[in-house]
Symmetry: C2
Subunit: 218 residues, 2 copies
């Protein structure tokens, strides 16, 4: 059993990571970031899940840094969230510049502060094509730099780094998780849009396992 | 000539780095962080210097993240800034958890956003004992991870990594820089205290070169 920080967006990947850490008996500190994303509904899910499980939940408001990172459609109000499959070129506009390094760096700082020995997060192989900061070599290098950045050694760990979204869902369903407790859609409206890259990928994972997604779609 | 982001605190090290980049003919984008440090006077110096030189200056307010990093005396109002030499054990309380990784990560994000090819910052050998995130192996690893974290390659460069504060001051004086334009004291009062680790180190550098520090001391 270890004290670990889980970067928890409220989406299905990090939800599964959070529950995996809990099932392994770790003392979990969930950390969510509000960085001005349009889909802040996922943060409401994150809060509720942590309350239900009695997990310490830290919500870090980093909206003030959004003006450093204007080029992404996920934070800029001038750019519409693109629809379609993640593999499309248009999806590149959903890349928040250097997002994972920023979030992991903050999580490592929090880990040092509370004496946790690792930061877990939900990078997976499905993200590799579109997000360079989800690739295994990135995560390995982040782990190396994290181990020598502070007096305290903090490991960076992505349990699903070599798995895809369907594998994650399969693992979560095997843990009896209820994905109605998660939020994925980038648009953040009342119901999920079913059209953005994030929705498409989620629906594909449920379809691959021949299961019904409990979230309501428009 | 390149487009570079300089992390510029307003202190003498980053002031020298900023001017070095300018003298080399680079197109400089200065980036300062307000992270709730008590010595915000250095930010006022930073702003003035950029105005005087016509350098684009971005001030990023990251005070909201201070509650993730409570253990440091530089950000916590519960802990007094220690006096004495940097080498003393008490100085460890001035370590902001994972500070440099956080600031560099944000600077890399900004660099990607504006299309800059490098982030310069003022790590130097005098900081190595006390701050793990100023050591050469940290900077090298940050450079490696930065080069693969985004579609755009951004280098992380610390021109004085193997130099000490006296070397930096010598280089700056050779460039005819006026260190009255900088602020170093951690306490951030009307005059520099002359007693905190930062002041002590600065005064030692001026003494080593037999020069008078133009800043007023209490």
């Amino acid at each position: 059993m270890a004290k670990v920080v889980v970067i928890y967006s409220g989406g299905m990947d990090s939800y599964t990571v959070l529950n995996k850490a809990l099932q392994q008996g770790h003392e979990v500190f969930a950390l969510s970031f509000n960085y001005g994303q349009k889909h802040s509904r996922e943060l409401i899910c994150a809060k509720q899940v942590c309350e239900d499980r009695g997990v310490t939940h830290k919500m870090s408001d980093i909206t003030a840094i959004a003006d450093l990172l204007q080029s992404s459609s996920l934070v800029s109000s001038d750019i519409a969230v693109p629809e379609g499959h993640y593999e499309a070129e248009s999806m590149k506009s959903t890349v928040v510049p250097n997002r994972n390094m920023i979030l992991i760096s903050l999580a490592i700082g929090y880990a040092v502060d509370i004496g946790a020995e690792a930061v877990w997060y939900g990078a997976h192989s499905g993200d590799h094509t579109i997000y360079p900061d989800c690739r295994p070599e990135f995560v390995e290098k982040m782990n190396e730099v994290s181990r020598l950045a502070n007096f305290e050694v903090v490991d960076v760990y992505a349990p699903y780094l070599y798995k895809n979204k369907t594998d994650i869902l399969r693992d979560g369903l095997a843990m009896d998780l209820d994905y109605g407790e998660t939020w994925t859609c980038y648009k953040g409206l009342e119901k999920a849009c079913g059209l953005c890259g994030s929705c498409v990928e989620r629906l594909e994972a449920f379809a691959a396992l021949e299961r019904r997604d409990p979230v309501a779609y428009d």
